[in-house]
Symmetry: C2
Subunit: 412 residues, 2 copies
Amino acid sequence: MTSLKEQCQLAKRASRSLRTLSIEKRNAVLRAFADNLRKHQDEILQANQMDLKEASALSEAFQDRLMLDSERLQAIAEGVEQIADLDDPLHKVLEDRILSSGIHLQKITVPMGVIGIIFESRPNVSADCTALCFKAGSACVLKGGKDSYHSCLAIVAQMKAALHQYGADENAAVLAENPTHEETQIMMEDRSSLDLLIPRGNKKLIQSVIAHAKVPVIETGAGVCHTYVDESANLNMALQIAVNAKCSRPSVCNAMETLLVHEGIAQAFLPMLCAEMQKQNVIIHADEKTRQIVPGLKAADEESWSTEYNRLEMNLKVVGSVQEAVDHIEKYGTHHSECIVSETPENVQYFMDGCDSACVYHNASTRFTDGFEFGLGGEIGISTQKLHARGPLGLKELTTYTYHLEGKGETR
Amino acid sequence: MTSLKEQCQLAKRASRSLRTLSIEKRNAVLRAFADNLRKHQDEILQANQMDLKEASALSEAFQDRLMLDSERLQAIAEGVEQIADLDDPLHKVLEDRILSSGIHLQKITVPMGVIGIIFESRPNVSADCTALCFKAGSACVLKGGKDSYHSCLAIVAQMKAALHQYGADENAAVLAENPTHEETQIMMEDRSSLDLLIPRGNKKLIQSVIAHAKVPVIETGAGVCHTYVDESANLNMALQIAVNAKCSRPSVCNAMETLLVHEGIAQAFLPMLCAEMQKQNVIIHADEKTRQIVPGLKAADEESWSTEYNRLEMNLKVVGSVQEAVDHIEKYGTHHSECIVSETPENVQYFMDGCDSACVYHNASTRFTDGFEFGLGGEIGISTQKLHARGPLGLKELTTYTYHLEGKGETR
């Protein structure tokens, strides 16, 4: 067995050869990876069965996340092909100018190097992340939960076979063989091999990586998203946006958790909103003012406002102004996605400027915060921190840049 | 006394009001800050005298770094005015497009929020950093060494007075009142108030911040920079570049530490190089091959290759190819700045692609890695990591971005 530290070093070495791998070759490897996933379906599904057997005591939802079948594997292979179809994010000239010294400066996108992904039990993550990182010219060290180990191993084996087919270094895709807690800690501290860590999973996992990593981390995922219905809002539009933001897919991070309603339209809007949400089986935690208008709702407490329910459950609060709405969002939000429904330009401006979030919407559902919707063609997560990249992380966000400086013997 | 945690919270609150402070007002505050520094010269120099008195047992070099006089204070004030003259880095539209959903997306530069600066004893850092952060719309929490506390306090007081003059929140510039180790630890963990930490100082300080911070950090400063003289190099040019890179200012991070020379020109180049370096009083640590050509040089050991001397001292090594040069740089370098002197396009290409550094030069001295030389008008440090920003950190690198999404009731 190779230690995780050694695996990271192998990935680092592989990353050096990726720096000059042409886009044609990178895409060819990805297409071969997709082909291999299809050709070796039986092997992969058998490996998945081993994981499922060991997880038989766990919840049905957990087993569903873990489960692969022919259809899901097909979707994974198609996802890899879609990544092959995307534009090359590398070697883009971001700046091109002559310095006062006469030196010709070019700022150029280059690979990040080695990206570590720490994730839970969804086997598709191993394929998606490997493909995105590879397309962006980076090696990838995957450290998944032990529950999906056999599935991920079978998937990564197909990527390694594709790399081998094209004479590329197989350690461009590495799955941690030995995912003990101690080894993970070593990985999180290994700045000599890893350039970036992206944790993907629940809040506890992400917070643990942030607390222990010395390698730079991009924080993803936590989404306490808000919708604010202003006094001047078109109430039908507000209703549709709120219901969509909460109900269309409550388990994802861009779903709404808290609806803020201006007091001037509370009497008109809250009864219709609550009726519709109740039709959709949404449990509502409400503040006192709301409960006076719509009796029978649960009372929200201090903890409610910062809870990411990830299910058909939400908070509802009456506010006196757009300022109060923004104050609430800044106090309890996670800087992910917020929306104002309003027809008053000054209030819209105040909201857009005041919300310190990755994505701020006017008159549209927060559910659009997504790599595909943003035209990135895929995403490795949604960043809620401010360093490097915010919002959906596509191929471009997985690169860094370098300055190339061309001189004629200049000295200073 | 206010705890550092509370000071950070005050800075966070101030940062919210900075988001909408016009560029005219930001520049006016900066000019008032510069004026105040001049008007209150006596106060500031008196405070500096207190610091110098307490440091009287420390080294001369240390006291020189700490010392302020009329001329140095004038230079600090001019530096602040130069920052006021720079373009506004905020509210730049980086992308502007219509999504397939019909939503109008704009990607816009916005302030980072609160930037923590952990530094040592140079009082000018408190003025430079405050001014750069403020211009970029961010509040700044300064945590300096206790040696320069009185000087920094007197400088920051002038910024607070300028903020007050224009009705802006004085906590946009905060100096840690209580810089104990425990308090610093709290600051490094305070993700609720701080968005970014930039340590400025020696290697030990920077490594300690990296090891202990949970707030995202930009690593700056460590520069083991290389120059590689290829077989086809113009030897006169190579000599001038090497001498400039080592000798023009050996204490800074963009100075050369190691010179690599192709074996094909070693016989011709090394004697002239060593003669010139010795004229400049440079101590040379050399590998065996070099010592056979130029007798009497010190022997380099394994540790030499990763040493940042920061003085008139360097390493010298003969390599067999550009590949070996890049391998050496990747093994021992700090990803700061490297140079190839060569007239062979394929070797230049190999070097530029292969060196994973912030700045890679062809036929020019690494000493140009500098915010002013790059036309950024100033810098807060030189990043040697790959996340967010590489190389000189100017105003643009102190901002982040947000997506503004304008809809007409779109749902998903």
